[in-house]
């Protein structure tokens, strides 16, 4: 082994330049590696869109756009249309949203304005745990516990009260649109309420105290200050919940009962875009059947993309307005 030679001037600068070359390559390499990973995320979206469109191309060529407003879905005659399923998706998600939106806002208000700090943490964590429940477990509960309750208690009760409207009449089932709406509500609420709480916490303290200083009650303060201040964000929170409801396949498949037709009554069995795919993709016999299910997936993809992008745009505008 050579004895260590003390570095002379030129050696040191050579070493430094070698090191800086190393560093430059390292910087470029890490930058390229991480940028490549980011491109992978973009590529994943592109692949999903491409594969769904490719899978649906046969059906698109065969049925074209009218697929979206034709009602018949008949594997025996190999004729497919999506209208029933679009209706099922819209009505279950829409009604679930009507239940979930006020609930989420109220929970957000409770967690941000009302609850004492100890309760706040515990209830907040519990609501988040509700979001973590796997949908298949909610579906299992929906079919074996909620279903019989809906059939034996809830539907007769609603029928006796509201049977004069077209929405609450007809035969009682363990499955159907009503349990699907309840299950979806359970899935939307934790998502939307967690976002609402975060939003309400961003309202500046001075504004709230100013409102109290004017002699307003707590509710008047919320209506006059908190809700106007966070309006855009609350809409986005609810849209994000809607995105989840539209695409929920498993729990809905378990409870909705896979039926044809458009029924006004919430007691009827139905089907949604996502649940039809989940229920029939394995058993699809013809190429056209598989392709039509991919077409359903494409429609669902467009719906959820629109909803999610709208939510994002609203959030961005909200953040800009706040100068963040």
């Amino acid at each position: 082994m050579d004895a260590p030679v003390p570095l002379s001037e030129p050696d040191a600068s050579a070493l430094a330049s070698r090191r800086s070359r190393h560093d430059r390559t390292g910087d470029v390499a890490l930058r390229a590696l991480t940028a490549g990973a980011a491109l992978l995320a973009l590529a994943a979206i592109a692949t999903i869109v491409y594969e769904v469109v490719r899978g649906a191309s046969l059906s698109i060529g065969h049925f074209g756009l009218p697929f979206a407003w034709h009602q018949v879905w008949d594997p025996n005659r190999d004729i497919y249309g999506a209208l029933n399923l679009i209706y099922g998706t819209a009505i279950t998600s829409g009604v679930a949203l009507l239940f979930a939106a006020p609930l989420s806002i109220a929970i957000g208000l409770f967690l941000s304005e009302l609850a004492p700090s100890g309760v706040r943490g515990v209830v907040g964590a519990l609501v988040e745990m509700l979001a973590a429940l796997p949908s298949v477990v909610i579906g299992l509960w929906g079919i074996l516990v909620l279903g019989p309750f809906v059939q034996n208690d809830l539907e007769p009760f609603l029928g006796s009260f509201l049977g004069w409207t077209p929405f609450f009449r007809g035969e009682h089932h363990t499955g159907g649109l009503l349990p699907a709406m309840i299950v979806l509500t359970i899935m939307i609420v934790p998502i939307s309420s967690a976002i609402c709480r975060e939003l309400f916490l961003t309202v500046p303290r001075e504004l709230k105290e100013g409102a109290y200083g004017l002699g307003l009650t707590r509710w008047e303060m919320v209506r006059g200050v908190v809700l106007p201040y966070t309006r855009g964000g609350v809409v986005a929170a609810i849209l994000l919940g809607l995105g989840r409801a539209l695409g929920e396949a498993i729990a809905v498949t378990q409870v909705i009962g896979s039926a044809q037709g458009i029924h006004l009554s919430f007691f009827a069995l139905g089907d949604t875009l996502a649940s039809r795919i989940a229920a029939q993709y394995q058993g699809a016999l013809t190429a056209l059947a598989v392709s039509s299910l991919a077409y359903l997936a494409l429609i669902l993809l467009v719906f959820t993309l629109v909803v999610n992008v709208a939510a994002q745009v609203i959030v961005k505008r909200f953040e800009r307005k706040q100068g963040r």
Partner: protein, 276 residues
């Protein structure tokens, strides 16, 4: 502005405010009640089938009692483990790109892409790509976002100090910044695993022909816990219903414990970063 002018009887206004407060409390109680209802009914129904056999034996032949779902546990572990191994490095690298290298515009594009990815229904992803990749794609935004959140908390002065000492950027990122974000990475990975473990839709299309024996060969379709719950719940055999409840209970406990642990770790990591 007119909303901010108080008019009317004070007593009535106070009563109205009180009413809304009560409604808010009731709403929260309802959400917590729903959680308790689901968890408790799963627990009650699962009790008869919760025994060691559940974890050590495979499916009983139709109509017979006993047996277990060991094959599903092994399958789930395998699927989720492999998917996490794929998603974890990519997710962390994306987070590093967004917070250390990208300009504001590129960062926004990548962040939006992750949000879009997070919003695509898993059943649609399941139609597009094979199941392992679906789980990885589902985990990716969760891992990346949690890592980004913690990276954003790393004080700028730490990076500047390192660079002032002549340390190059890539060494700074890998040796100084990244180690401080370990908490965020662990959180993201745990949240991702909890989510992927409960995902049924993507597996639906690929594990139809799974065997009822323990299999660790990833080339063969494997059973998984959520898939077992889904198929057993639609079966007429009460023994299988019982197994579905037991599997649901194990899944719930796993998911809730991992999500709670993840939040705890993130909370601690964030607090340490803020304090340090």
């Amino acid at each position: 502005v007119s909303r901010l002018v108080a008019t009317g009887s004070v007593r009535r206004r106070k009563r109205k405010s009180r009413l809304v407060e009560i409604l808010a409390v009731l709403s929260s109680a309802r959400a917590v009640g729903a959680l308790a209802l689901v968890v408790l009914s799963v627990l009650v129904k699962a009790l008869p089938a919760l025994n060691l056999d559940l974890f050590t034996k495979t499916e009983a032949t139709f109509g017979e009692s006993g047996g277990g779902i060991a094959h599903a546990f092994v399958g789930s572990l395998l699927l989720v483990g492999l998917a996490a191994a794929m998603a974890l490095p990519v997710g962390v690298l994306i987070a590093i790109y967004v917070s250390e290298f990208a300009g504001p515009r590129a960062a926004m594009v990548v962040r939006s892409a992750l949000d879009v990815l997070n919003g695509i229904p898993s059943i649609v992803i399941g139609i597009a790509v094979f199941s392992l990749l679906v789980l990885a794609i589902i985990m990716l935004p969760l891992i990346s976002r949690a890592t980004q959140e913690v990276l954003a908390l790393v004080p700028q002065s730490l990076r500047e100090a390192s660079q002032a000492l002549g340390v190059s950027k890539w060494r700074t990122v890998l040796r100084v910044v990244l180690p401080t974000t370990l908490g965020g990475i662990v959180t993201g990975a745990t949240l991702g695993i909890a989510r992927a473990a409960g995902e049924t839709a993507p597996i639906l299309f690929t594990s139809t022909l799974f065997t009822n024996t323990v299999s660790t060969d990833p080339h063969h379709p494997v059973a998984s816990v959520p898939f077992i719950i889904f198929t057993y719940s639609e079966s007429p055999d009460p023994n299988l219903h019982e197994k579905a409840w037991a599997a649901a209970f194990v899944l719930i406990v796993f998911v809730l414990v991992t999500s709670l642990a993840a939040r705890f770790v993130l909370h601690r990591a964030a607090r340490m970063l803020r304090a340090g």
